[in-house]
C-alpha cells in the first residue's frame, strides 16, 4: 500500500497543490473583505471569550487575549479540516463520477489549506505579542515541531472521518456537537492549572491539551513544548494515519457507487 500511496502522491502532486491554492481563494471568494476575515474571525472569538472570562468572571489574567488566541487558532485548524473531510467525498461526487481520485487527497488538501490559515493567524499573533510586550525567545522556533505533530494528528483523524462521512447521514450534526464538547473540555479558554491536580491526568488523554499547552509554552512562556507527550501523540497519529489510509484504500473504488 505504501507504494501505491507514494505513486499516487507523485501523480496527483500538481492537482493537490493547485487545489490547495484554489481552495484558499475559494474560502474568501464570496466576501468583500476577503483575507481580512481570516484575521477578524479568530479575533472576534477572542474578544468574546475575553469579555466573558476577564470582565464578567474576573479571571484569566492580563495576557488572556493572547492565551485564548493560541487555542483558537489550533482548534479552528482541527475543526474546519475535520468537518470538511467528513463531507468531502459526497461534496466531490461530481468529479468522482468522471475520474478516479485517490480519496486521501481530499483531507490532505484541506489540512494544508487550513495550515495556511493557521500560519496567517500566527502572523497576527506575533503582532499581538509585540503589542502586549511579550518578548520573543529561542523557544518560539520549537513551534515547528508542535505544528508538525498537530498536522499529523488532524490529518489522521480526518482520514477516518472521510470514510465514515459517506455512510453516516447524520455525521454533520454528530460532529458539530462532538466538536463543541471537545473544545470546552480542552484547555483552550482556560489553563490546565485551573483543573484540580487529581483530574489533570484525564486531561492529558486529550491531544489538544498537549497542543494548546505546548503552543502557549513556546509563544508566551519561554518554555519548551511537552516533548514526551508530543512524542506519544506523534506515534498515535502515525498509527491513526496508517489505518485511515488503509481504510480509504480498501473502499476506494466503492465510494463512488454509494453517493
Amino acid at each position: 500500500m505504501m507504494n501505491l500511496i507514494l505513486k499516487d502522491l507523485k501523480k496527483y502532486k500538481d492537482f493537490v497543490l493547485f487545489h490547495v491554492h484554489v481552495n484558499i481563494k475559494l474560502k474568501v471568494s464570496n466576501t468583500i473583505l476577503g483575507y481580512l476575515w481570516w484575521l477578524i474571525d479568530p479575533f472576534m472569538q477572542m474578544l468574546v471569550y475575553t469579555f466573558i472570562v476577564v470582565f464578567i468572571f474576573d479571571r484569566g489574567g492580563k495576557d488572556y487575549p493572547l492565551f485564548v488566541f493560541c487555542g483558537l487558532l489550533s482548534w479552528k485548524w482541527l475543526s474546519s479540516t475535520v468537518t470538511y473531510s467528513a463531507g468531502s467525498i459526497k461534496a466531490n461526487a461530481n468529479i468522482l463520477n468522471q475520474v478516479y481520485l485517490p480519496k486521501f487527497i481530499f483531507p490532505l488538501q484541506e489540512c494544508i489549506s487550513n495550515l495556511y490559515k493557521f500560519c496567517f493567524g500566527l502572523f497576527v499573533m506575533v503582532i499581538m505579542m509585540a503589542f502586549f510586550r511579550v518578548s520573543p525567545s529561542i523557544h518560539n522556533l520549537e513551534i515547528i515541531l508542535v505544528i508538525a505533530v498537530n498536522f499529523l494528528f488532524i490529518y489522521g483523524l480526518s482520514l477516518h472521518l472521510t470514510h465514515y462521512g459517506v455512510f453516516i447521514a447524520d455525521i454533520k450534526n454528530i460532529l458539530s456537537h462532538t466538536l463543541r464538547i471537545w473544545w470546552y473540555i480542552s484547555p483552550g479558554i482556560y489553563s490546565l492549572t485551573a483543573i484540580p491536580e487529581k483530574y489533570r491526568g484525564i486531561f492529558w488523554l486529550n491531544p489538544n491539551t498537549v497542543f494548546f499547552e505546548s503552543y502557549r509554552n513556546v509563544l508566551l512562556y519561554h518554555r519548551s513544548p511537552y516533548y514526551s507527550q508530543l512524542l506519544i501523540w506523534f506515534v498515535i497519529s502515525l498509527i491513526m494515519t496508517y489505518f485511515g489510509l488503509k481504510k480509504l484504500y480498501r473502499h476506494d473504488r466503492h465510494y463512488s457507487k454509494m453517493i
Partner: protein, 246 residues
C-alpha cells in the same frame, strides 16, 4: 491485433441505503437475525464480457438505464467491478461527460486548470494548450468570470473543450454530442472526428444512430445491464431499430 480492453464476466451493482427512521435503523443494526436489509441493491451490469481492439471506434447503444454510462465508468476506473475482471491495457484514459466538476465560484480559467489536471494533463501541457482550449470553448471575455455566471451551454462547451484536448489513448465519450447550439455541435463533431484516428481507441455512448453509423466500426448493445450483442455497426443497428420500434 492487440486488445486494449478485455472485460470478462463483469458484474456491478449499486447499493442504495434505504432511508429509514431511527427506530428501524436501531432494530436492523442490533437485531439478532440481522433484521431487514439496510440496502437496496440494483444490478447495473450483469455478466458482461467483450474485447475491444486497439485503434477501433466502438459505439455503445441501448435504452435508458441499460448500463451504458456505468460501463464507461468501469472502464475509466471510477467504479470497481463487484465480480469479474476488467483489463484496460493503458494508463491514458479519459472520460468525457457533461459539464461536471466545475467549481462555480472560480473563474473559467481556474476551472480549466482544475479540470485539466484532473483529467490527466500536466500543468506544463495545460499551459501549452491553454490558448487552444480557450479559443475552442468560445467563452471569450467570460474567462475571468466565475463559472456560476455562465449559461449551461457555455459550461458544456468549456467542459467539452477541456476534455477533448486531453489526448488520451483510450477516449470514452458519454453522450456529449447533444450539447451546445447547432453551430457548436457541428464544430464538436468535427473535433471528435479528428480525435478518432487510427492510434486512438474511442468508445462512445450515443442515442444518435446516424452518428454511430458514421463513426463506429462496431457496436455493443446493452439492455437492462446485459450485453445483447456485439458486432458490425450496420448489423447491430438494424436489430436495434427493430427492437426499439416494437
Amino acid at each position: 491485433m492487440e486488445y486494449i480492453v478485455e472485460v470478462e464476466n463483469l458484474y456491478l451493482e449499486y447499493k442504495f441505503m434505504k432511508p429509514m427512521g431511527f427506530k428501524q435503523w436501531l432494530t436492523s443494526t442490533f437485531s439478532k437475525k440481522g433484521g431487514p436489509p439496510k440496502y437496496k441493491v440494483f444490478q447495473a451490469l450483469q455478466d458482461i464480457s467483450f474485447k475491444i481492439k486497439k485503434g477501433s471506434t466502438v459505439g455503445i447503444i441501448g435504452e435508458n438505464g441499460a448500463g451504458k454510462s456505468t460501463l464507461l465508468r468501469v472502464l475509466a476506473k471510477v467504479y470497481e467491478p463487484d465480480r469479474g475482471t476488467v483489463k484496460v491495457h493503458t494508463d491514458s484514459v479519459s472520460l468525457l461527460t457533461l459539464a461536471t466538476g466545475f467549481k462555480s465560484e472560480l473563474s473559467g480559467l481556474e476551472n480549466i486548470y482544475i479540470n485539466g489536471l484532473l483529467l490527466g494533463l500536466s500543468k506544463k501541457r495545460l499551459d501549452e494548450k491553454l490558448e487552444e482550449i480557450i479559443k475552442f470553448s468560445e467563452i471569450g471575455e467570460f474567462l475571468e468570470n466565475p463559472v456560476r455566471t455562465y449559461s449551461s451551454g457555455m459550461r458544456s462547451k468549456l467542459a467539452f473543450s477541456i476534455a477533448c484536448h486531453v489526448d488520451p489513448e483510450l477516449l470514452l465519450i458519454d453522450e456529449v454530442f447533444s450539447v451546445g447550439d447547432a453551430r457548436f455541435r457541428k464544430k464538436s463533431s468535427a473535433k471528435i472526428r479528428e480525435l478518432i484516428n487510427s492510434e486512438r481507441t474511442v468508445i462512445m455512448v450515443s442515442h444518435s444512430e446516424d452518428l454511430i453509423n458514421e463513426l463506429c466500426d462496431e457496436v455493443i448493445w446493452l439492455d437492462k445491464g446485459k450485453l445483447i450483442a456485439q458486432g458490425e455497426t450496420s448489423d447491430i443497428l438494424k436489430e436495434y431499430k427493430k427492437f426499439a420500434n416494437r
